[in-house]
Symmetry: C2
Subunit: 429 residues, 2 copies
């Protein structure tokens, strides 16, 4: 018999069906046993006649195939139940489970959750995180396709890091030394210059940061876009703002059940996301919160305080910080005067989720800026080549997928929004 | 003024507009110069009064911004042209271009094409390859979303290779040795067992094969899926067949202009893709083509001959080869008797584009099969754990994106269907 999903059983009242899934709960009474079956679509109460299945041992989380008749019958789960005719064990669980997952809330710590990922993901409140994450990615792709963007797939094994610094993972590439890409920066710029004009990529990026924090992963999914023929970074901010509006709408419409189950409030996006210059932000932090010592970048506390300020003053969960200091930005960032750049961060509920800006499109300016950054232009020959053959003004952003997911859902650690995280301590599973 | 795409100009007749793009061609006459502008949407003839722009030097592929009036005027490109009022050079090309790209066909060899990727991609016949590739990926995602699949993102830095063999790239992961994933095999099985039941991933996979061939890449995009609660591998083949039908239809509907430009014939998919047992295929090759010496796997010539046979006999561009020999399949493959497995290849126009099959879902059988394969089960502890906690019968496939793209478009080398290929010799750009 063809398997039917639990969510479709209401169309099969009084008929014989086959359902398959995991044994979620078992309650044995004198004459019958109630077996709660779980599949990807929901839970189902099944009723087993103890006389007919005397010898049967049903352990939690075993996978079974059940033939039975769908009967009307109100219970906590559905308006129907299944009268079991036959039951087959496909995969039997022996011994005790390391975590209990048939409760309303898991109530285990993060390490236990990640060490038992296959089991913890079976809990609906955990799997829902990734259903929401998928909607975020889908909304990103759908929005950009609509805006004339082309999806690209670019190399993750690279000869030079794009972001500078030493936080790269080394790869043995035949007789050569190579690295895992910190970002698709060079390649997305290339593809703008190659005539696609507008490109995006959703793929892994790698940062060999040594420190475990609740906001960093060593391997994360970066939603990157790059756009040519802009006037300046404000075109990019406008585009991101439109995307965020689209995304929140998308989550509302398609993610309602998960949002409700996880009991979260979708972000508030005002008519215009406030835009504050970095320098002004420093002043605000000084004046409003006595926060001192910020010169070139905000620390996590400063990000939180600034978001608090913006939420109170403008009722916005988002804020663009513009005119970032030149010293802290990578060499490809378009300068704005001597001290500043045409680049920005987007902060969301206390944390940076996007870095973006306009890039340098002129060969000579780029060479100069490499030198300013202490880099040797001859190490970037193939990248520089790009700017000899006609390059439009362009810019882009990168959004960390796990971060934005975690922040939308109010998760404390970015690892909760990662199926299988990689960090200093986690290389397995 | 806001930039207008060339494809939208017909709605702006007799109005002043701003267009931006690359200078595709220049033809200077006595009184006027014809400038052909190219943007991502098409080509446009612009007319420049030589008297007004005497000193202007317009080099090919320079990026310009042009203000002008859209005038009716039939030419080889459109039913309108642009009377230039003002022209601004955004990025000027100095010196000669390494390749000529304003011709109908590029006519350069593969190395030249890849060495000048930014320029060669500006040719419409080259960029169209990637437009078709995107449609393939979109159709994969759309089809699977419709079938209840969940998209996943799984680690590419792993402790153990899933496919066996030594063809893995080594990564220095802090104090540990790690590898780049050859496939998401373990993780997609995990996610089936974690309750998602049906999952897919479109992401890079890595194979450290030393030999450069026209069918291999060291970094390629793998379209992977895995599905639980199947009966056997025939459920997987049926699913793939439905997907291929969906994909071809999708390409017909949405990719018409690229298919036409590239002058290709979309594959023929018969009512049912022929399914031939591996052993029978060996017999057919012997009998029909005197092809000897095939025991456990087909060589490239055998794949070609078998496809020829199937095309002639069944008029099908596809053929499933089932019951693959156990010796050649990875340890997770479900055996079928002592010699065969519940696994298959899909050949398409002379080459294998998919490997798939049913996987082992029983702990003890898996341990036994690891031993049969000469592997030490204690190296796979975290993977084996999965089979202790309730695992449905399951199977899946992987489709090489560049390969299927190349074969659909009749490209000889898989590198032509790769934006920036990685192979033994190519680590740059």
């Amino acid at each position: 018999m063809k398997r039917i999903l639990i969510s479709e059983l209401r169309n099969h009242l009084n008929k014989e069906v086959c359902v398959e899934g995991w044994i979620h709960k078992v309650r044995k009474l004198k004459a019958v046993t109630f077996v709660i079956l779980r599949d990807r679509s929901g839970l189902l109460q099944c009723v087993l006649d103890n006389n007919s299945f005397e010898a049967l041992e049903l352990t939690l989380e075993s996978v079974v195939s059940i033939d039975g008749i769908v009967k009307e019958g109100k219970n906590a789960l559905n308006s129907f139940e299944l009268q079991i005719e036959d039951i087959n064990i496909i995969s039997k669980v022996n011994g005790e489970l390391p975590i209990e997952i048939n409760k309303e809330n898991l109530e285990i710590n993060l390490d236990t959750m990640l060490n038992n990922r296959v089991l913890s993901l079976r809990h609906r409140k955990i799997s829902s995180i990734f259903k929401v994450q998928n909607l975020i990615v889908n909304s990103f792709r759908e929005f950009l396709n609509k805006e004339g963007f082309t999806e690209i797939h670019t190399p993750k094994i690279v000869k030079e890091g794009a972001e500078g610094g030493t936080e790269v993972f080394e790869v043995k590439y035949f007789e050569n030394k190579a690295y895992l890409a910190q970002s698709p920066q060079f390649y997305k710029q290339m593809m703008v210059g190659a005539g696609f004009e507008r490109v995006y990529e959703v793929a892994h990026a790698y940062r060999a940061e040594e420190h475990n924090t609740n906001r960093h992963l060593n391997e994360y999914v970066s939603m990157d876009l790059e756009m040519g023929f802009i006037e300046n970074e404000y075109d990019i901010m406008d585009l991101e703002e439109s995307f965020l509006r689209f995304m929140i709408n998308y989550l509302e419409k398609q993610g309602g059940e998960y949002i409700q189950l996880l009991d979260v409030k979708l972000p508030v996006i005002t008519e215009k996301i406030p835009r504050i210059k970095f320098k002004e932000a420093v002043e605000i932090l000084k004046k409003t919160y006595n926060k001192e010592g910020i010169e070139e970048d905000l620390d996590p506390e400063a990000e939180k305080l600034l978001c608090k300020y913006v939420k109170e003053k403008f009722n916005s969960d988002f804020v663009f910080l513009t005119n970032y200091p030149r010293k802290k930005r990578p060499m490809y960032t378009m300068p704005c005067g001597n001290e500043e750049t045409h680049s920005f961060d987007l902060l969301f509920r206390g944390i940076e989720i996007t870095t973006g800006g306009q890039r340098i499109h002129e060969y000579n300016m780029l060479v100069e800026n490499m030198k300013y950054k202490g880099l040797n232009p001859s190490n970037y020959e193939s990248y520089l080549e790009l700017f000899k053959h006609g390059m439009p003004k362009h810019g882009g952003i990168a959004i960390g997928l796990e971060r934005i997911t975690a922040k939308i859902l109010g998760l404390e650690n970015v690892r909760e929004a990662t199926l299988i995280p990689r960090d200093r301590k986690r290389l397995v599973p």
